[in-house]
Symmetry: C2
Subunit: 237 residues, 2 copies
DNA sequence: TTATCGGTGTGACGAATATCACACTTTTAT
DNA sequence: ATAAAAGTGTGATATTCGTCACACCGATAA
């Protein structure tokens, strides 16, 4: 059997796993504003996004929402239901852009994962990274107030969706409303608005047609005592 | 090396995994105040706690600490380094009670996990639950202010370390300083102190010799709009 | 015993953040 | 094109929370 280190070279981007998911026997159209699944629902399926965009959110009875990830083409959702005793979705998948997802049966995937060690390896690697990302987010979101939460979110957005521009700035290629950012940070849209405008005035970032461009990422990093953890980890998604 | 097996049976889940860890070829004494490992250190080993207690913390350059778990006998630490490209510990393991840990080589465990599907299954199950716990903590810690963070922490402590008493109360069998709780919640010891005293005055809880007894768990739950997620998930550790 | 130490309890105050209200701007739908 | 809807910007005010200061409490070691 191949050693982990060799496999690591072979599959840096989880190709086997996605290949398997792509072979799904059917797909499903998703419509903006609808939900692919909602928290609490029994979970029998996972999805690979073929097109469109999803927000993975946790809702509160009082109407508040907390956003964990924004997922688009090539990403896997519903993953945390695998190998659980009582499979229910923990999060809600809200469609924010029309598209299509490949559907795969949870049971089938579990079976395949246990049969195919190199697939297992990919999945574990993916899940480990996922967990590491979630855990590092904690420090930033909780330990440096709401400003820290926003700055951290912007940095992670840069790493996840950023396009480097000629002048060294980074365009976050995702239309984000103030409220969206607030949902990532656990704050209010008004607070986000004020903080963003303060950053604009300092020349740290600018906003055009709903998309943010970061001009001075280092400023944001220094404000939250960023330790430059690997980009693999310091991401939204 | 012989480990007292009855200790490992405290938690009936994940027996295969623990059995494997138990076969570790050596163990290490841990001394209160020292660190089993520190974040950033290259990670080549995992540990199974035989005795003693550890705090898994994330530190900040400015001296703040965030506590994720308190681990004792039968628990596995250092797990998130498995299957990562650049294996470094993300958290620091601070010893808060003398003891001993079984040491297992990361490479060896990775190999075993890929060779043995039923071991794989246990590990994935464990990691999934771990991730689900971390994720659900987010909502509580971020969405309901510091009071929500404390209440959530107390509820999770009850599920993790609670001993039901005859009168229906729950004793959290773990000596906790105000500062410890503050580190779990991302707040200050003064704030924790005020909130705890407010809860004492309302008869929600009482404290004797450093240990908290919850008299009215439902009050705490209702305050943070708890959805009674499975106890498997709603835990500190 | 007393001195020391780590922890608790609490007031005063200021900073950070939420809330409310409303005007203004941009986007979307008809 | 125009109206309606959605999103942004901002002041005023309330609330939450952190910070500082210091008294107190209880264990323990000299």
């Amino acid at each position: 059997m191949a050693l982990p280190s060799e496999q690591l070279q072979l599959n840096p981007r989880f190709n086997q796993l996605k290949e398997l998911l792509r072979s799904a026997n059917y797909s499903k159209k998703i419509k903006k504003g609808s939900f692919l699944f909602q928290e609490g629902m029994p979970a029998n399926e996972l999805y690979l996004i073929c097109s469109g965009k999803l927000q993975m959110i946790k809702t509160c009875p009082d109407g508040k929402e907390m956003c964990f990830r924004i997922c688009s083409v090539g990403e896997i959702v519903g993953e945390l239901t695998l190998f659980t005793n009582d499979p229910k979705y923990l999060l809600t998948a809200k469609v924010i852009e029309d598209g299509e997802v490949a559907v795969i049966e949870k049971d089938y995937l579990e079976e395949q994962l246990l049969l195919n060690p190199s697939l297992t390896f990919e999945y574990m690697q993916w899940l480990s990274n996922h967990t590491r990302r979630t855990q590092t987010k904690f420090r930033d979101l909780i330990l440096h107030g709401k400003k820290g939460a926003l700055y951290s979110t912007l940095i992670r957005m840069s790493n996840s969706y950023g396009i480097p521009l000629k002048d060294g700035s980074i365009l976050i290629d995702l239309p984000l409303k103030n409220q969206d950012l607030a949902n990532f940070c656990g704050t209010t849209r008004e607070s986000v608005n004020r903080m963003l405008n303060a950053l604009k005035n300092k020349g740290i970032l600018s906003i055009k047609r709903g998309k943010i461009t970061i001009h001075d990422l280092d400023y944001l990093k220094s404000e939250i005592q960023c330790e430059n953890c690997p980009v693999e980890i310091c991401r939204i998604e």
